[in-house]
């Protein structure tokens, strides 16, 4: 028996490794640093590792190869773009997370107990969220570049487990938060079981677990496609669950609502990017040659996702739930990019992910600012008159809503335009028409919120806009600026993506 020593290309793995290192240092800080020093040092370590990871990604942007980790990961243009996107979002998310008002003081304390009150008085902090976030980020960085099914599964779990945990750490309405964690966890585990089952069948079909191996089996396969299709179907269940596509979406409104808002923002933005990155790679690289079999199903899923998300969002009364449904609708739009299955689909998806992710984070950041004595106010009715109370906050939130609605001169419009044109290019008229229709429906509720904020009088119920902490303010400002700049001058980014994005096989 010959054992070949594995050769790892550490440069290409460096973003992941840096983030993991940051996470481990974070854990060590938790273990050894004095309590009052933890928060700042954690934040510093987190930001430092994320920024260095970003720098690392940028420095290797020209590299490409499938041998970074013995065929387990592929590094290519698309990988660079998606990793960079995730890291940027993560940095902004850490800004929000650093605003510790969002997190419980002591997760182990029973809600409403004396212990909880004391820990609040003592100003305890769950600084563990930083390493947890970093672990999640590491998983997200790995997920879209994984080229074998094991790595894919492991990455999925690495990104999910911290999120399950963090969903339960809300400072207020902790019962809801814990419930969100429970639901997210149970359903997440349920869907990963499907994912794994899918892996099993794909392995059974092709005898290999690498994406390129599967692709070769599809091209040159003998026998019939039952195992392949079962594999694709079950794998898709897991993947579509992560992006919140109907009918695998049900967790997202509950979890978005229950989780601490900073985490919701992080989850909504970064998970979507990572998951779509993975979906794009899997479908473009491994399944492309079986497109005529999976595409109709995906078209149907995309259509009902767009419509469902938009229609249900209309009736929402809670801003976080509304954003959740909106994110479901956006998952549908993004699926259009997968369905497109061409270069412009890839480019469009990456642009869309970037634009959408940043705007989503910005929107949730604004949600953290609207508070009353008992914490965040997410009841939309109590947002009425926000434009009067705080014109700037309301305007920025309106900007994010407009970009979600795809109004020109915002990044969302360019994204929508490019993704739908890519889908239409590959012949999906149905996607185009449904997309347009559901955008119209979606506009309905985005505008409703704008009306509420600007055209209704404020109710005097103690709801107020807190001054954002510097970090939150920076996050919001960056998100707003990116949204506008990408709406007006998208050309540099678009052509950069166009020239950069590709999948290596």
């Amino acid at each position: 028996m010959v054992f070949t020593t594995p050769v790892l290309n550490y440069a290409q793995l460096s973003p992941i490794l840096i983030v993991l290192a940051g996470a481990v240092i974070g854990v060590l800080i938790e273990a050894f640093a004095p309590r009052n020093a933890r928060h700042n040092s954690q934040m510093f370590i987190s930001l430092l590792s994320l920024v260095s990871a970003f720098a690392a990604t940028v420095s290797i942007r020209k590299q490409a190869g499938v041998d970074a980790a013995m065929n387990s990961v592929a590094f290519d243009g698309a990988a660079f773009l998606i990793q960079a996107t995730i890291l940027i979002i993560a940095v902004l998310a850490v800004f929000l997370i650093a605003d510790q008002e969002n997190f419980t003081a002591l997760a182990a304390a029973i809600p409403g107990s004396q212990e909880e009150r004391e820990s609040l008085q003592k100003d305890l902090r769950v600084t563990e969220v930083y390493p947890l976030t970093l672990f999640a980020v590491a998983g997200m960085l790995l997920f879209p570049i994984a080229t074998d099914l094991i790595t894919l599964f492991v990455a999925l779990e690495v990104l999910s487990l911290p999120l399950y945990l963090m969903a339960g750490l809300s400072r207020r309405r902790r019962l809801m938060s814990q419930e969100a964690a429970l639901k997210y966890f149970l359903l997440g585990a349920f869907s990963s079981a499907f994912f794994l089952f899918g892996i099993a069948y794909l392995y059974g079909y092709s005898g290999t677990i690498t994406l390129s191996g599967i692709q070769q089996s599809i091209v040159g396969g003998s026998g019939n496609d039952v195992f392949l299709l079962l594999g694709i179907a079950f794998l898709s269940v897991g993947l579509l669950f992560k992006v919140g596509a109907v009918p695998f979406h049900a967790w997202s409104p509950d979890v978005y609502q229950g989780a601490p808002t900073a985490i919701t923002g992080f989850m909504a933005a970064a998970t979507k990017v990572a998951a779509f990155g993975a979906i794009l790679r899997i479908f473009y690289v491994a399944f492309a040659n079986a497109e005529w079999q999976w595409r109709p199903a995906l078209v149907i899923v995309a259509i009902i996702t767009m419509l469902f998300g938009s229609v249900v969002a209309i009736t929402q009364r809670d801003v976080k739930r509304m954003l959740a449904y909106s994110s479901i609708a956006h998952a549908g739009f993004l699926l259009a990019g997968v369905i497109a299955l061409n270069k412009s689909g890839l480019d469009a998806s990456i642009f869309y992910l970037f634009a959408y992710g940043i705007a989503t984070l910005g929107a949730f950041a604004i949600v953290t600012l609207i508070r009353d004595a008992a914490g965040e106010v997410t009841d939309l009715n109590r947002w009425s008159g926000l434009g009067k109370r705080s014109p700037l906050t309301a305007s920025v939130f309106a900007l994010f809503l407009l970009t979600f609605a795809g109004i020109p001169l915002t990044s969302g419009f360019i994204g929508k335009f490019s993704i739908f044109s890519a889908a239409y290019q590959s012949g999906s008229t149905a996607i185009l028409i449904t997309g347009v229709l559901s955008s119209a429906i979606a506009a309905f509720f985005y505008i409703r919120v704008i009306v509420l904020m600007f055209f209704k009088d404020p109710v005097e119920d103690g709801t107020s806009v807190v001054l954002p902490s510097a970090l939150t303010a920076i996050a919001i400002a960056i998100a707003a600026v990116v949204t506008i700049v990408l709406g007006i001058f998208p050309a540099p980014l678009l052509s950069f993506i166009e020239s950069t994005a590709f999948f290596i096989r």
Partner: protein, 99 residues
């Protein structure tokens, strides 16, 4: 005997696990059902490893076990937390978030 028979068993076990998630209310039992599904997937992997004559399937199953172990830790921690808050392990009781 055809090794496919293992696949049938795995399919049935996966089905039972999936249904268990839907019908059982105790969060721990639900979680156990998910474990059953993972086991079914593992059985499929092992069987396919045998059919395909490669060990990748077994490696994957091995990974699954590790991952499942981690999942169990996190999952049970969450369940215990919610049990401590609510004095109930029924997932039906956790339905504040809806609509």
């Amino acid at each position: 005997m055809n090794p496919y028979n293992y696949l049938y068993v795995a399919g049935l076990l996966f089905t039972i696990g999936a249904i268990g998630v839907v019908v059982r209310r105790n969060a721990i039992v639900v979680f156990m059902c998910i474990e059953l599904m993972l086991n079914a997937a593992n059985l499929t992997l092992v069987t396919f490893a045998r059919i395909n004559g490669t060990l990748e399937g077994q490696v994957t199953a091995f990974f699954t076990m590790v991952v499942a172990a981690c999942e169990v830790v996190v999952g049970l921690a969450i369940i215990v937390t919610i049990y401590r808050s609510r004095r109930s392990a029924s997932i039906d009781d956790a339905s504040l978030l809806k609509r």
